[in-house]
């Protein structure tokens, strides 16, 4: 979706301001939010792409005004209510509604290690022949899907070069909508800074993105 989350190349957000001696969390609730998201990620119906899309669908004013962990928290609630995991009434009361059975968590203290480490591999062995090989010239498609995509606006329509083939990876555009993993070959594509941003840029500078096969046409 052409959302406010697709920030690459926008102006007006000011300088980058690093914080000296930044703590891991600025308040204890931030740690609780990230841990809740990771634990809920083990339940059927939750995946990383759907989680990202839930953040993208926050109202733009909230997206820009919330802190990172506020975005994670609100989008987690949105996902849980939309999927029927919890109801707004339960969220308000903080109590399980009468008659709703108590579940058994898929991640317990005994097997928690696998939800601390980053997500598992998204590579899939499909046996499909890749359409492109390193060195090929490609053009990022000028497409504007209303759903989730990982093709940023700033490269659409631009010409790049295939740098590397990563094999087939789960396609977020499908997985985010619970329409299956639909794996496709993932490529690192090099775009010259001048191709993206004009002739004033340094000739040797470049931006590299990892893009799925269906995002690209031969050029």
């Amino acid at each position: 979706m052409n959302g406010v989350h697709d920030l690459g190349g926008m102006h007006g957000f000011g300088p980058v301001r690093p914080e000296a001696n930044e703590p891991v969390f600025h308040a204890p609730w931030e740690g609780r939010v990230i841990a809740m998201r990771r634990l809920m990620g083990a339940w059927p119906g939750y995946n990383i792409d759907a989680g990202r899309h839930a953040i993208e669908r926050l109202p733009p004013v909230d997206y820009l005004g919330f802190t990172y962990y506020q975005k994670w928290f609100q989008s987690l609630i949105d996902q849980m209510i939309a999927s029927g995991t919890i109801t707004p009434q339960e969220l308000t009361s903080g109590r399980n509604a009468a008659g709703v059975p108590v579940a058994t968590p898929p991640i317990t203290i005994a097997n928690v290690a696998k939800s601390i480490a980053p997500v598992g591999s998204f590579q899939r062995d499909t046996g499909a022949n890749p359409r492109f090989t390193a060195g090929d010239t490609v053009r990022a498609r000028n497409i504007h899907p209303e759903g989730h995509t990982r093709l940023p606006r700033y490269v659409r329509g631009h010409i790049g070069t295939i740098e590397r083939d990563h094999g087939a990876h789960v396609l977020p555009d499908s997985n985010a909508h619970h329409q299956g993993e639909a794996p496709q070959t993932l490529y690192t594509v090099r775009f010259a800074a001048r191709e993206l941003w004009g002739s004033a840029r340094n000739e040797a500078d470049a931006v590299y993105l990892d893009l799925w096969e269906s995002y690209l046409d031969p050029a």
């Binding site: 920030l7 914080e19 609780r32 990230i34 841990a35 634990l39 990172y68 939309a82 579940a103 340094n202």
Partner: protein
């Protein structure tokens, strides 16, 4: 679009994550209680995850990878060829591992990592990202004006240095292998690891000799 938002957040926080609205803390607590009561999450697992992020994962892991690469050419070759396997050699991962890629800084090439669409970051080797990495300022500017962003960090590069920006759009995670600074020839792996900063492995700083 979802019409099911229940936003009662207050707007008295600033945008850098410093000032914490207590209303959010209370709402988070309420959600946690509900999820525990429903049996959806194990509270002990929740505590363990928070503890791991605070004490176990972090940029010291990445620093050990960099120091090993600086001192062991065979390890560096494996790291550049298959970073996921080479990183797991050092013991930071179990059966699951992300698709890691290491990009090397040289006198003529400087690498910078960003995620313009969200905040993808190599948690395995760097821990959780700092606020600036997740900020709209960094995410918007790193791809169009990387040299300006580096100036914000006090790093000015000459025109003879090519800047490569890596936008983390997939489940691939990038770690910058910074240049080993001059004057560190006599240092061992452990001493070198102590010099390697998080910022140098994201690509917004160089490593400096003590």
């Amino acid at each position: 679009m979802s019409g099911e938002h229940h936003h009662d957040h207050d707007h008295d926080h600033d945008h850098g994550g410093q000032d914490i609205p207590s209303a959010t803390a209370l709402r988070v607590k309420a959600l946690e209680s509900l999820l525990v009561e429903k049996g959806l999450i194990d509270p002990a697992a929740l505590d363990a995850i928070v503890d791991a992020y605070e004490t176990k994962i972090g940029p010291r892991n990445g620093a050990r990878v960099v120091a090993r690469a600086w001192t062991d050419p065979a390890y560096k070759a494996r790291l550049m060829q298959d970073a996921s396997s080479a990183i797991s050699e050092i013991g930071f991962t179990g059966s699951e591992r992300p698709h890691m890629i290491v990009v090397e800084n040289t006198p003529g090439t400087h690498n910078l990592v960003v995620c313009t669409l969200c905040s993808c970051y190599p948690w395995l080797v760097l821990g959780l990202p700092p606020v600036w990495y997740k900020s709209t300022a960094y995410r918007s500017r790193a791809v169009i004006d990387p040299r300006g962003v580096l100036n914000d960090f006090g790093l000015t590069l000459g025109d003879d240095v090519a800047v490569r920006v890596w936008d983390s759009t997939a489940e691939t995670r990038y770690l910058v292998l910074p240049e080993r600074p001059e004057g560190t020839e006599g240092m061992d792996e452990e001493a070198l690891a102590a010099l390697v900063t998080r910022d140098s492995m994201v690509g917004v700083a160089k490593v400096v000799a003590p």
